[in-house]
Symmetry: D3
Subunit: 327 residues, 6 copies
């Protein structure tokens, strides 16, 4: 139990209560949706902790029961929590609808939430200064001006302490327009050492797609995108390619990794799980292919269980699915 | 079944999905809070429909599952629904926490909700023009500028069709300050024919309490408050006095009615139920004491069951608790 | 919201409370079967309302909680309800058992139910006289003599108002013998403008199967059956062919439509959903292939969700399964 | 475990599946009522078995899952089961509604049930011939002509084997009128050795109440009623007086017993539990006051738990409530 | 209903309460695992009873609620119960975890349980002396010295009454080492008339595998193992070969039977169900291929439902899956 | 959030998974008992953490899901966890039965549990050496010889680091006899600085009750007992007197405190909550009456909610019940 170790991976962002509707069921009066928690950054922290690397989450919660529930659940997952409690704004909430034949839909109740009011003052300088990796996402940048300030301050505090800055683009169309987002996300990517993005997010960052004639195949397109992002500054760029797998570019070398082929039960959160396990292995100075393999396995575990991060609990199962074997 | 009759009581306001935590239980991951709906104005419409007077609710809902759920539930309770669906904002949500030894707490997720974006354009002129009573509350006035405009337009449309305007002060401290609220609420009360208020709301409306030396007892204080509110314009003023009962002043005459003495299970919504049954009887030109008796009985039924309005379903039970008999 | 529009499709029949056992589970003391409602005619009305055509259901319910529950649920689905309440007989009930490897079994508790005591006096002449389509089924004919009288009266009232008469054979072996049913069903089909039947029901109606040597293939056999039923009088005949699809014969022309290929979760009610959507499109004077396509899509939606009609709620989902795309 | 002992108390009657609604909750679509079983005669058999006297239940069940469930549950309670299975009629069902402020309401789905088709041919002569006590009720007499024949045959078979005949009047107003019931119930009481009745049932049996001037107090009135019933033939008469307790008249001597004063959770079935424990002690030749005490204690246990008989499971708890101590 | 017939198949062993976690769900505070019962020997008894052969279970239970629950459930399944109640030790418990991608794991809480303290004194000589088949397993031999003594005494009592002794090797690695188990299991197999074993259990019994060069295929290997076990004494040997099926050697003749090919939901308990149905048919002097077919069908039914034996309830379903038809 | 502070109160003991039966309900197959965790020492640690004093729990868990669940839940409550994981023994389990009219019964499944195999080697010397208070109980002493050794070693390690040793007698009759327990408990009390006991435990420790003639009243008797225990060595002695309150003797001075008068829902764990809050205040050098008041308030909170410690979550509720006000 490494609970008292100093957190090596520190994340900053909004975590919300998550209400999920039962599968194949109507959301109707009298029924009970299940309650859990979720947030891209805390999902990453949970995955990292499960791999065995001490992690922390910094955020802002309402001074209410849902806030306490988030705090307790993250602590319970072994994540250090440094959360300001806001007496004037409620903890954010999201509703996840499982419907047949259509993608899972997520509806947010985060306008004016405590988490969206995150500010630089909420940051714990010791935690960020003592981190090896500071992980941030583009979601936080979309929440408010004060949240954007908090991102900038987190980068300064991390850098000052010698941490690598990790940034997952995580563009959310429900929070801002591509036009508003692009310059902000590009600045953050430029300031980072490690960048994670999907192909569309990479195109948004780069102001357009590579010439399809020159890069007709997805792996090649991803490699070209990774090179261009690396040209902005980051030393390591990871392209998450969904059903295809992931491609990493580090110090000029390219690494590809297929997904672990499982039957997904709930794919939401798989990307965060990938990032968390990847960063945990990176913090332990494992070779890049091992980082990718850990990310792929953790992503598969999260897909196989309901919930945004609950599948990470199967990481340590000795007889769990290996990274390279079909279920 | 009077479902096709033209609605005689028409309400305008915000209705939200309502998540309730189980009694004596922790809100913890894995548990399921129960889902229902609630809103002061639609609670009134449900209670009126139960008494047998056709009613309608006008509002604005998100174009999402929770919005559909509200629409279906209100229709199912026999309330006509005229709801604009907002593609850009979610249906509001509230969380009701039942804790031991402390009053029930309600937490709102209505900032930026579809309901708070209600505007005069959302009103159905035919419905309002055809009503006998148009019922409004001070909650709507607190939601947004466009919602306040909708209130004003609803009054105009109702008046033009010959409807009486009913107004429940319903001051909500979580939505606005007393300073901001007082002039708005006073204007609305002045424009109304029937006003409902509690003693503190009356004091807010009137800019202060009656001289306690002159009116040392609560019934006397309430009578004095009612007279002063009537002086603003309304022909009928009803003071809701909680455990004491209710006092009505109509055309100068005072009527008092005690509550139905039951053991309350969940008091939230009892005031709305009172108003709904009172207005239904008033629409049927019943004498004032019958209006008060119906209100008291409906309020007791709602207190006796979990949920803001669910107890109204017992109205027609032939062997239900009469208005004047202790359980 | 078309809730106040005058119902264009009016159905008459018995609706029951429906208790469903959980899948792969024993029905054992202490467990809770889920409660919903169902009835062939009200299923049709719900599906039509979902497509956007105002519909109504006429029937007889017990003066009990299950009756109120049916009334509320149908209203909530946007169906106008005109239900007599019977103080002397309970609302009918059915039990739906889901077992592995065997077809779903349905057990009825409708002997002596209020619904089976439906009589011509329970019919609302205005509703039936104002309808564009009056939809009836052979189930009602099997319930009692008074219910059969109600069918005849409904046809008269509909005809008098200019409505088309729709009739779904819906033969139920648990309610009467083929010998008893055949002449009654044939009379009703003869009196109808639109007839829906399965191949076995068509054989029952026609007193035998077409010569298999002459019609060896199912589509050809169905076409022959449709022609023979049309010879009895109806202008439009629709053969529901299960996994094959459906065939419609209208004014001498034949239209075929394949099913929407989905993995069924619960097929009960799919036929009713097909009929409801078909009639709704027909009422809107859509071409026959559009009626068939709407029916096929609605049937698929109902198959994909537990419950006899609950899947109809997905009709309006913009990203739902299209009529011609495999999930 | 006395499971293989020959049943000493044998009952005949209808047992039904029992659906119970949750307390203070609406019966609404999506919720799950709980499922258990109940029947006056099998409740008696369960209570007797719990006291340690081998008992049996004879009846008729549908050849369906609810029938199997009843059979399994009774066997599980240690009651021998001899049930004919009817392929043509379903197992009966009842719905128990718990509402605030009003008595529990029970709604039956037993018209045409398998149990109501009980006939003399369904009786197991060996079981009845080997019994010490044969227990019957007036409910069975109300079900059908064949059920009444079964009662007469059960009396003959019991008498032939030397059994005492026990009869609980159990008048059910939903099954027949007082006029129809009175002569049948009187005949059965006359044929019995032991009769159980409430004051109203006694009045029905006797064709009227004792002169209130002569018997102004309830204990005295009950004693007079017991004496008049004894004059019809039975050697032992027990008047169940609700909150007052019970009075037994045996061989001319009167015994009174107060109830065990508990806070009732669900009083339905308490009378059956009383009878079962009373008969069990009687079969063991315990003195009459011990029979009454056992009955009172078992009745209290059943009142203290949801369900018609489930409270009997606490009989053997060494630290359970004694018969004469307030909780 | 054969409940009162004298048990023809009598089993001895430990039955435990069984807590099962929901599928694809975390075991987390606040959730409710489901409760049922299980035990190899009582599973066999239940399956035999379902086929229609009266059976009994002898064991030792705690004098607690879980013990009573086991007793009630077995009685409810039609199994005669002869259980000593131990005031000093609790009823055993097991926890069954369903996880994705890994085999179901079972965790026992039986150290020091009442069941493990079974002794020869707990045996009912009449039951064992009157049996046609006495069924024992190697699990009981692993529980304690007194339990082993009980096995020996059960064999003596059964033999004395002319019963055939049936023995299922049922080696449990969590209870003892192969070294400790082998001689004990061999002795028990030698003393038996009928032996059931899997291939690995057979190898354990026989002190090694047959020469793979001489027996390269599984059916041939199983036949060789069966012959060698038969050489120890038993007249009938059945090898359970999992997905392959089963092979029986009786009086020198070999019979093979494929499994019923179904999609398994929960395979635990399928072997016991096989044995129970096999023995029931054997007791009825059915030919060996019929015994194997019944075993295969019952095993398939148990696989198709959650729970160790619950699927046996589908045995009598007239439209259930036949033994030779794919679902 | 003090999660990273060094634990000031460190406890050692066994924590178990806790299955609770629903109130007024039968424990029957098919129902789901709820799952949570409990253990006297970790209950104390949770209560201390809630008051704001960093705490830790040291113990031994199975390497299984229940062990992980305990670890996650304690972390989630803000308790530092240092748990050895035992691959050869399962995590302990207890079953809590709520029955009417009788005290809650607890049944343990801890024979051979991982927790009972706690040994001195499992102790974290840094944690114990850095503590201000080391809290131990008599339960651990009853588990095994190695657990007793662990207690002795924990005292040594605590003393060496300057910690005060706290000891709660916690005699458990189901684990050992008074004769076996008395000398062990007396030795532990003698070695402690702070001792908690009930009146019966004090009598066990002291080898008998004070002369009732000399100390006829309970407060006086408790004071005498406290003085005698203090004579063994401890500087502070706290007598927990149930419904009466608690008495503390410190440095010769006596302090009495009444309970907070609430209606208890589930009293189990109230004593642990008292101890945890008392010790937390003591660690903060608050005066003794403040320690007693905090203990009384925390005990009341735990009584008011289902579960052994869940009520501690209400400690920080600003509008929760104060220590001196009746609900």
């Amino acid at each position: 139990m490494a609970a008292r170790s100093s957190p090596r991976i520190v994340t900053v962002g909004e975590t919300m209560a998550l209400l999920g509707t039962p599968d194949h069921c109507l959301l109707r009066p009298g029924t009970g949706p299940t309650l859990t928690i979720g947030g891209a950054e805390s999902n990453v922290a949970i995955a990292a902790a499960r791999v065995g690397v001490a992690s922390a989450w910094i955020g802002r919660l309402g001074d209410d029961d849902l806030g306490s529930l988030i705090e307790r659940e993250l602590l319970g997952q072994g994540v250090h929590v440094a959360a300001a409690r806001d007496a004037d704004a409620p903890t954010g909430l999201m509703l996840k609808e499982h419907r047949h034949g259509v993608p899972t839909r997520v509806r947010y109740y985060r306008a004016g939430s405590a988490g969206s009011r995150l500010s630089a003052d909420d940051l714990d300088p010791d935690l960020l200064g003592g981190a090896e990796i500071v992980h941030l996402t583009g979601i936080t940048a979309a929440l408010s001006g004060s949240a954007r300030s908090a991102l900038r301050r987190a980068i300064e505090l991390g850098r000052a302490g010698g941490a690598a800055i990790s940034f997952d683009v995580n563009y959310r169309a429900t929070l801002w327009t591509p036009e508003a987002a692009a310059p902000v996300l590009r600045d953050l990517a430029t300031a980072a050492d490690i960048v994670f993005a999907g192909p569309e997010e990479a195109a948004l960052l780069l102001g357009g797609d590579p010439d399809p004639a020159a890069h007709p195949y997805p792996w090649a397109r991803a490699e070209e995108q990774a090179r261009r992002i690396a040209a902005l500054g980051p030393r390591t760029v990871v392209l998450k390619l969904g059903a295809l797998g992931a491609l990493a570019l580090a110090d000029g070398a390219v690494h590809r990794h297929a997904i672990v082929p499982i039957e997904p039960v709930d794919p939401v959160g798989a990307g965060d799980a990938f990032v968390g396990a990847f960063l945990a292995e990176l913090a332990d100075r494992r070779p890049l292919h091992a980082c990718l393999a850990a990310g792929a396995r953790m992503g598969a575990l999260v897909c196989a269980v309901r919930g945004d991060w609950e599948g990470t609990l199967d990481w340590a199962a000795p007889d769990g699915p290996p990274a390279d074997v079909r279920r």
